[in-house]
Amino acid sequence: MAKTMKHVDAVCVGVGWAGSIMARELTKAGLTVVGLERGAFRTPGENFVLPTVRDELKYRLRLDAMLDTSIETVTARHNPDEVALPMRRWETYAMGDGLGGNGLHWNGITWRFSPSEFVLRSHLTQRYGKNAIPAEMTIQDWGVTYDDLEPYYDKFEKLCGVSGKAGNLKGQIVEGGNPFEGPRSSEYPNKPLILSQGGIIFMKAAKSLGYKPFPTPASNSSAPYTNPEGLTIGQCQYCGHCEFFGCEANAKASPNVCLLPVLLRDPKFELRTDAYVARLDYDKRAKKVKGVVYIDRRTGEEVTQPADLVILTAYPFNNVLLLRLAGIGEPYDPHTGKGVVGKNYCYQTVGGVTFFIEDEINPWIGTGTSAASIDEFQADNFDHGGLGFFGGGYICVSGSGGRPIQVRAVPPGTPRWGTAWKAATAQWYNHNLTLTTHGCQYAHRANYLDLDPTYRDAIGRPLMRQTFNYRDNDHKMSAYITAKAAEIAKATGAKIVANPQPRTGNFGATNGQATHHTGGAIMGTNPRSSVVNRYLQNWQASNLFVVGGSAYPQNAGHNPTGTIGALSYWSAHAITTQYLKSPGPLVHA
C-alpha cells in the first residue's frame, strides 16, 4: 500500500557527491533534509576491506560495486534513425549505485575546468569569428564563469584533501604546477603524491619537448588530512586499486568518508537507502514539484515523500529520466533542434599510445590518478586556427595500477597466446607505459537522451535511450592530441612505441573507456536553450534543482567530478542565501 511520509524541507534524490553536499549545506542552513539512495548502505571501512578488496575479477571485471543492469540500463544507438538496443551488461561504461554513488569508487582525479570552457561559445566566436563554430556543434555558455565557481572549487578541494601543486595562485604562475589553470585562491590542501617511475619518465620527456608537466590533482590523500568538516582522511597506500574499488585506507575522498559521517549524526538529516525513486510528484499547474515517490526495496511499498524543495542529485541518465517522466520541460528534438530536456548529452573522447622501455616501472605501485599530466593541448590552450576542430584534452601517463587481468601490454606483433605470448608478457609487464589523451566531447546536434520506446526497467519505466556517436570534431581532436602524445612517447627513449590509438570510428558498447556522462539537463542563460539556470534551478518549477554532471552544456577534456563538487556548493549557496529568503525563480527568463 502506498504511504506518505512526514513533510520535510528538502529531499535529495541520490546520495553521491552532489546529494551529500547539497544535504550538508541545506541542513547547516537549518532545513530538514531526507536523502534517498536507491542502492545499499555501505562504508569503505566495512564493505571494502583487506584482503577481499584486492579482487580485480570481482570489482573490475564483474563490476560488483556498480549498478545491476537487470534493474536498469541504457539503450544505445548511433543516430536518430536507428533502433536502439539495451546494454545488456556493462561493456563500455558502468553506472554506479549505492551510498556515495560513483564517488565511492572513482579514481579521484580532481580537476577544475579551464576558464574558457564556461564561456565556450562566446570565447570561440570571439577568437575564431562568428562563423567558425559548425552548425551541428550545439555548444553553449554555461551561464556561470570560472571566477564565479572558484571559491566553490576551493571548497570542494579542501573537503577532499586534494593532493596537487598549484600552477596559478591569484594570477601568479607557479613553477611546477599547471600554468594553464585558472587563478586559484589557495594552494592544494595536500602536497602532491609521490611521483612514480612512469611519472619521472613522462615529465622528463615532456620537458625535453618544451612542455610544462605537473602532478595530476588527486583526491588520493598524500598524507593524513583533516578536512573542514573535521573528518580525517587516511594516507594513500599506492595500492593500485582505485577505480571500481572502495578504499580500505579511507585515503580516497568519497562522500562516505568526507561528509556522510557528519550528516548522519545531524538530526536534521535522514538517510534512506534502498529507496528507489520512481517519479516526481509534479503539479503542472502550480509549477511545483510537491515531492517524490519511491519504492522502499525492503518492503516493496510505494512511498511518497513531500518536500518544499526537490533536488535531483542522481546520475545524468536518472536526472533526465525523472524530468521526462514528470513532463517538466520540452523534450529535445534533434530534427528541429527545439526543446531542451535530453539535449547536449556528451561523453569523453579518450585515446592513447603505449610504449615499451627499459626502466623498471613497477606498475602495481599506483594511485587513482595518473602521476603527471600536461595541459598544453587542453581546451583552447593552443591555436585551433586551421585545425578543423575545437577542444582538446590533457595528456597523462598511466599509473593507476598493474592489475594483471587487464594491465599487461605486449609489443605489437606479439602472438596472442602460447609460449611466445607468455615470454613477451613476462618480459614487458614491468616495462611498459601508456600515455592517455583524455579529450573533451563537445555537444553535437544528433547526440541526445530521450525515452526508449521499447525497453523498460525493472519497475516498468522506459529506459533512457542514448543516441550518441563520435563525430568529426571528436575524431580530429583525438587524432591531433594522440599524435602529440606519440611524440612524447618517442622522446622517452622507449625501445618500442606502438601505433597511437586515437578514438576512431563509432561509439562502441564494447569499447570501454570513461564513465563520464554529462548533459541532458543543461544549464544556460535562458529557458529556450537550457533546463536549469545558472544556479541549477529548473526554469519551469522553481522549487526543483537539478544538480550534477547533467548540467554541463558540453563536456571538457578534464575529468568531471571537481566541477560536480563546485557546482553543488555553488547551487547550495544560492539556495541558502537567496532562494530561502524569497522562494521563486532566482533568474527571470
Binding site: 583487506l50 577481499t52 584486492r54 538496443l85 609521490i194 623498471e360 613497477n362 602495481w364 594483471p404
Partner: protein, 239 residues
C-alpha cells in the same frame, strides 16, 4: 598428443624460474613420481583436478584443450588446465554470473550492430554450451574430429581461424565466441587463485606481480625504478 610425463618433466626443469612455490605446486606430482605412481592430473592432461559443478565431460575436454593451447606448459607456467582454468570457468558458469545475474534479459532480442554489444537471450552458461557445440560441429566438419581430439598444431590452426573470423560456425558468431574463450582464459590465468585458476599464483610469479596486500606508502620511493621481487600473496594467504 604430448607425453604427459615428458611435459611434466620439462615444466619442472623450468620451474626454478618461477620460484619455489611453483615447484611446491607440483609436490603431488613429484611424490607420485617418487613412488612410481602417477596422480590423476599427470595421467590425464587436460582433465580438471577438481570435481565439476556444471560443465559436461565433453565441454570440460573442449575447454581444457583450448586453455592448454592458449597456455601451454613451458618454462613460464604449467598448462592452462594444470593452472586450474577449467575449474575457474566451471565455477564461474555454475555461479551467479553464469546464470545471467546482473544481465538485462528483457526482449525483444535483435541482432543490432556489433557496437551495440551482447544482444543474445543466452546466459553465459547457455552461451558456452551453444558455443562449444558449434565449435565442435565446425571442428568435425573441418578436421573430422572434436576439437579436443585434434593434435596441438591443428588446435593452434583452428583457434587462429576462429580468431581471424574465418571459422564458419552454423548460426553462431565464431569470432565473438573466440573472444569469450580468450577472455575467460585470461581471467582464469591472472585472477586471484581464490577463483580456482592461477593455481599457486603462477601467472603472478611469471610477471612478478606481488599481489596483496599492496600497501606501499612507505615503499613507493624506495622501490621506484628498481627491480623488486616480492613473493606474491593472494587473498587466501591473508585470510
Amino acid at each position: 598428443m604430448s607425453d604427459p610425463t615428458i611435459r611434466r618433466r620439462s615444466f619442472l626443469q623450468g620451474a626454478g624460474l618461477a620460484g619455489t612455490a611453483a615447484a611446491a605446486a607440483l609436490s603431488g606430482g613429484l611424490a607420485g613420481c617418487a613412488t612410481g605412481q602417477t596422480t590423476q592430473t599427470a595421467e590425464k592432461p587436460g582433465a580438471p583436478t577438481e570435481p565439476l559443478l556444471t560443465l559436461t565431460p565433453s565441454e570440460a575436454a573442449f575447454l581444457g584443450a583450448v586453455y592448454d593451447t592458449f597456455i601451454p606448459a613451458d618454462q613460464y607456467s604449467p598448462s592452462g588446465t594444470d593452472c586450474g582454468l577449467v575449474t575457474y570457468i566451471d565455477r564461474q558458469l555454475a555461479g551467479a554470473w553464469g546464470s545471467g545475474a546482473r544481465f538485462y534479459r528483457s526482449g525483444p532480442f535483435r541482432t543490432g550492430k556489433p557496437e551495440q554489444g551482447y544482444q543474445l537471450a543466452l546466459t553465459p552458461r547457455e552461451y558456452f554450451a551453444v558455443g562449444i557445440a558449434a565449435a565442435n560441429d565446425w571442428s568435425r566438419k573441418t578436421y573430422g574430429k572434436d576439437f579436443d581430439r585434434l593434435a596441438p598444431p591443428q588446435r593452434e590452426e583452428a583457434l587462429k581461424t576462429m580468431d581471424g573470423g574465418k571459422a564458419e560456425f552454423v548460426d553462431f558468431n565464431s569470432k565473438r565466441f573466440f573472444e569469450t574463450l580468450y577472455q575467460s582464459a585470461m581471467e582464469g590465468f591472472f585472477a586471484d587463485p581464490i577463483y580456482g585458476g592461477n593455481r599457486n599464483k603462477v601467472s603472478w610469479k611469471m610477471v612478478n606481480y606481488p599481489g596483496l596486500p599492496a600497501t606501499y606508502a612507505t615503499k613507493a620511493e624506495e622501490y621506484r625504478g628498481k627491480k623488486v621481487s616480492l613473493p606474491p600473496q593472494s587473498i587466501a594467504d591473508l585470510s
